[in-house]
Amino acid sequence: MSKKLATSKEFKLRLIDLQYRNLPEEEMSQQIKQVYLEEHGKELDAKIDVYNSYQSSNELFDSSGYDGTAIHFSSKESGVNEVYVISQGSKDALDWEYNIKAMFAGKDSSQALAVNNFVYEARKEFGVANTIPTTGLSHSLAHNNNTTAHFVFDTFDEVYSVNGAQTNYYQLYFIDIEFENAVKRHFSLSLSEDHSAIYDIDPNQLRQFAENHYKDKAKNIHQIISKDDPLYAASAVRGFFTLGNVEMVDTNPDYPGLRSLIEDIPDEVIKDFQELAIQYTTASNQGGVNAAIEEILGVNMDVVNKISDNSLKTYLTNQNEINRMVRQLDKKVPSLLKQVKTITSNSELIFGRLVDTGYITNAQKQLIVKEFSNIETELEGIKETLSTIVRIRDTGSFSAQIGGDIAAVLKVKGHINAIKDSLKALNEADLLKVLEELKASHGIKEVLSSLSHGKKSYLGTDMLFTTNHGNKEIKVNISAALRMYQEGKKVLEEKLSKIRQFQVAIDREISQCYDRKKYQVMRKIDDIEANPSAYTRFLRNHISFSRLDKKVRRIQVHEVFFPLEYTNLDEEIYELKQSVQKSYTYIENYRQAIEDLFTEEKEVATLFRLVEGE
């Protein structure tokens, strides 16, 4: 029987955050241990193995943009044996492209499939059975993936998420055949009807049915959601349902969040938006944003740009393209106009509320409303121009047709460029601040800091403790303190070992050199004593004699070797060692000071003791 680790929600949140940092395996394990220690006040009594999706050769993870990390906790002593799988939330453009598609269009489930495949692969890598308790951790888009995998593929025993993109019952309908069958039976949809007839079912009834269908598995879903998270607001859109045990937190008290705004927008308006989104995503997946614009407007900007003042020439050389453009506009503009009108006719509701809640200023609102109504006018203009073409063609006059067409094409070009200008103006409106605020509310850090209670709080993902001295409140960054203590000690240990190496080097180098030189001298002495005649020249230095007159017969050297003097660097070494000692004292004093601040809370002292290890 595999035992599971008891971990707090703060631990899980910080683990999700750690995964975003893409740490090497060794460092990841180290950090997990540290966070566990901080959050639970005791050492993690289990071996950690880490496996990342980027280590896999499976093409699926790359192509779907799935990024995940599996962590295997195991311990023979305690019997702990379980896997945590962290699926990463939206990070890059590919993810957001998928986001829009999965969230609003709700058709593709590749990332849920990727999650499931990754979990199987990780279990194989860890050499554990498929029955091992497996917990899914997720933030943002990953929640949608993890819950979908949980429902359809039984991937997890439990799912813990923060600020997640909610589950979508349309998406489930397209992947979960059992659910699809149940929906069809319950709502009496015959197989002969169009497969997308599900979009015509009353969303409320469908949601209730889905909630009931998945209720048992939903019990194992646990979520923390910030009221200020824009994804939470977006989850009010039809298609989404929030499942599991949900803890709502207010992470940005300056703003009320956008949820009530979205809830107040009628379903019909949302539906229009959703359909636009389906169209947009289907097209953008086929050929990027340009294709999406072309799909929505029916206009290829290359063709528009070709239309010059010499319009007859343009008309003659690009007649097919222009004809196609006109046909497309004729097809696309009416429905697009309807969708844009939905936005403009609800602009007071949408943008007025954004002003009331402080998300945008009145000036920004006016700009947005103005540009949207400009776009509406231009679309009206295109529609009107197109109807004149048809009228002229109906007259049957060929030259009138050409003249009419050319004039119309020039007009259309003007309208399209005006729409482009409006879109540009919208991009330039300074909406950055509100976007930054919303982005922060989507993040994990803001949720962590809102989970502060009692003496514990968070700065980023660092854990802080608060204590009162007199009437002063002191906050101490315990994570940083432990890091400094632990890493400081490590650095000092390294320094001490370097000093020892230095000492050994001094001893070795100097005495060896002395011995070598002494040996050389001895050799020379031996040589002098063995061949005295060879050294006759030394005598000649003192007295002069003719060549055969005098002879050196014997030389005796009286050698005296003095021991090495002034060679030891003990004093310097001592100084160096002293400096390490001083730093140790400093670090220990620092630890003592923090412990003193928290005399009542024994766990701070425990944390330091555990970090100290030995």
Binding site: K107, D108, V152, I175, S192, H195
Partner: protein, 216 residues
């Protein structure tokens, strides 16, 4: 007058192009043809479905040539089938989902293409999990791919077959879920199922991974 000259040129051009168009009428794709010239079957009446059909010539009685949106596979398309546009999904060359409903036979075929699946065990497991039931797969070897098929049955007369076609050249997997309803008032269910199974088996043989398909 300059304008008249242009008009004359244009007329020439129109005549020339018109001639060309007439000559190429036969090689045109169904989506480019005049709707009145198309076969009078549901598959061609629906504009979205028409876009996938390659010719108005039958491949065998009741079927027309179909090319997937990814270009990764071809198959025979039933004349009564219609592809739901709102349920269609295409993710570059990686993923494609089509749902073909057949009003006359009261059946639905869902064809999902996954470029990244090449392991039979993964494919079969995914199908079992999607249906939430154990399936007994049968393997059939084809030239360029293997076919794994299994029947399934939900209560109340909904039954069907699943199939997984896995390319031997790592061209991905085609996952098929065929469901049908059996109307007890018409034919006995057992007979209908037998007939369907035979039809399904034959149809599966028409599906082929497209080896020539170029990237991009």
């Amino acid at each position: 007058m300059k304008k008249q000259r242009y008009i004359f040129l244009l007329l020439l051009l129109v005549i020339f192009l018109g001639g060309c168009q007439m000559a190429s009428e036969k090689t045109k794709k169904p989506s480019e043809m005049n709707p009145e010239d198309l076969p009078d079957v549901r598959a061609f009446q629906d504009e979205f479905t028409r876009g996938f059909l390659q010719s108005t010539e039958e491949t065998r009685p009741g079927y027309y040539p179909f090319l997937s949106g990814t270009g990764k596979y071809e198959m025979d398309f039933p004349a009564n089938g219609v592809i739901s546009e709102r349920a269609y999904s295409l993710e570059k060359k990686r993923f494609e989902a089509i749902a073909i409903s057949d009003k006359i036979n009261s059946s639905l075929i869902k064809v999902n293409y996954y470029s990244f699946i090449d392991s039979p065990s993964t494919a079969m497991r995914t199908l079992e999990q999607r249906l939430n039931m154990e399936l007994n797969f049968e393997k059939k070897e084809m030239e360029s791919h293997d076919i794994y098929t299994a029947p399934f049955q939900y209560d109340e007369g909904t039954y069907g077959y699943v199939a997984s076609l896995i390319s031997k050249e790592k061209n991905g997997e085609i996952q098929i879920v065929y469901s049908a309803e059996c109307n007890k008032n018409k034919t006995p269910c057992i007979d209908a199922k037998k007939k369907d199974q035979e039809k399904m088996r034959n149809w599966l043989k028409s599906i082929n991974f497209n080896q020539k398909e170029s990237e991009g």
